[in-house]
Amino acid sequence: MKKFELIEHTADIGLKAYGKTLAGAFANASVGMFSLMAELENVGEKESRRVEVNADDIEGLLFEWLNSLLYYFDVEMLLFKRFDVIEFEDTRLTATCYGEQYDPALHSLKMGVKSATYHQLEVDREKNCVQVIFDV
């Protein structure tokens, strides 16, 4: 099954992510986001971080989840490539994120993602599919 696909947007870029479960779709959305930012093939899994996010509803949770991961990139230069979702509710997500610190000798960065946006943000519980547009 396809993890995610990109959506065309004039100024920015978006993606649709799929999963066997909604938690899986959230994890694949983050894989999609990091693959916009860098070539993930050469990224190892030397580092891991436990990330917990809370929100008022499921849409807010997706916004918060992706933006929290961008925080780790800005502050610790961590590129994540794999996500184990441990807990998943409408208002709470806990995951272990695996990746490594950006090293210009090993990794190639592609695009800066400023933020996930609420614009056309969709969470489809029936199809286990999420959609998000990024400001890049």
């Binding site: 065309e8 100024a11 920015d12 008022d56 916004f63 960065l109 890049v136």
Partner: protein, 485 residues
Amino acid sequence: MAKWGGKLEKVDEFRWRIPESYKSGMRVPGLIYADEGMIGQIVADQAPEQVANVAFLPGIVNYSLAMPDIHWGYGFAIGGVAAMRVSDGVVSPGGVGFDINCGVRIMRTNLTQNEVKPKIKELIDALFYAVPSGVGSKGKIKLRSGEINDVLTKGSRWAVERGYGRPEDLDTTEENGEIKEVNTDYISARAKERGTPQVGTLGSGNHFLEVGVIDEIYDKDIAKVMGIDDVGQVMLYVHCGSRGLGHQVADDYIKEMVQAMQKYGIQVPDRQLACAPVNSPEGKHYLSAMRGAANYAWANRQCITHWVREAFCRVMGISEKEAGLELIYDVTHNIAKIEEHEIAGMNEQLCVHRKGATRAFPPGHPDVPEKYSSIGQPILIPGDMGRLSYILVGTDRAIRETFGSTCHGAGRMQSRSAMKKRFNGRDVLRELESRGIAVRAGSMSGLAEEAPEAYKDVETVVNVAHGAGISKKVARTRPIAVVKG
């Protein structure tokens, strides 16, 4: 993306109206500045729908405006201007965007193209190494513990006091590079953490440094006041914003306002338009935090200015005095400000949102620096990597019609992925070099995304702004070297 099928009425050669009757809930009409040739491209995606959606926001006055560089954004269209009454209106972080105070500045030099051209390769390399750029770039400045709060409250003045740039740079920066009424307690620890290592970095995306040359002067007298003397004169541009700090402030407050909307009983057609009353605690806290992020961006451009001057003088083998390098002006194009404007004959305090739009104040306005009081506020409209950029001034008509606002750039019309399918970075590089433009870029794919073909022709955008009378053309530059973030 589907073509927009809404109602659009032609007002005159440069103005198109979306009537209030288009959608139930619009409080004012929409008004798009465009000419006949551009309008087809504007309705090709959903940007006009976004103009109509902004008209839903409480307290909006006159029109939901779109400048001629309008393109589809998130929430607000890029090129959107909307003013809400402070008394009963709202402020929306989505009406500012994630890159708070993304902006551009221009320095003049005493040198001509003929003097700089032989050293252009050396110059562009020196600029590339002097200014950290690219995705995730980290700065050279180590802040003391707590010093980030000085950056957030003092903006450009913090940088000048730290030795980056000249005291007179503050006189020719919008808000003197230090917008007041910032309480740093309203800026989250996460935002400060993201911002601390990034002071003095260009970032990525459409951010750049450019060496440009005056190509044409439309108004010699006005140009003279800015220190623009002749065709062939070399100018330097810096375009960047508030980096991760601004992004985090926007994230934090969009989240807060999604909750606040329920509390205040506000409904909007797109969650990205989340807002709160200007006078509510949420509104006030956001404005305070946003101003801090704006100051951060001015400090950022000020530090970069210093390194650009150093690099330029070193390569050219001359002193700063000989080089000139005076800051003509620095404008912001993503901000919300409390300003007083005349509405139906009465002075009214408004919260003016400019998202991808530039302030365009006329001659004699109290917020225009004394130096430019006779000509109006300088406006800088960068084109794109391969094309022309424009220098304009603000007008009385802008104050009357657009809350003193005009366009900010060329405006995107092709998506990044579409550009990457059509071009690769190396093609773009070769194409620019064949036109005599030296380029250094952090990433080749970034270069393809920003290929000149992605943008509307800035000339038509500026001609609409000039033709509609919301700004006045003074001069234009063409690039000879670009550092792309």
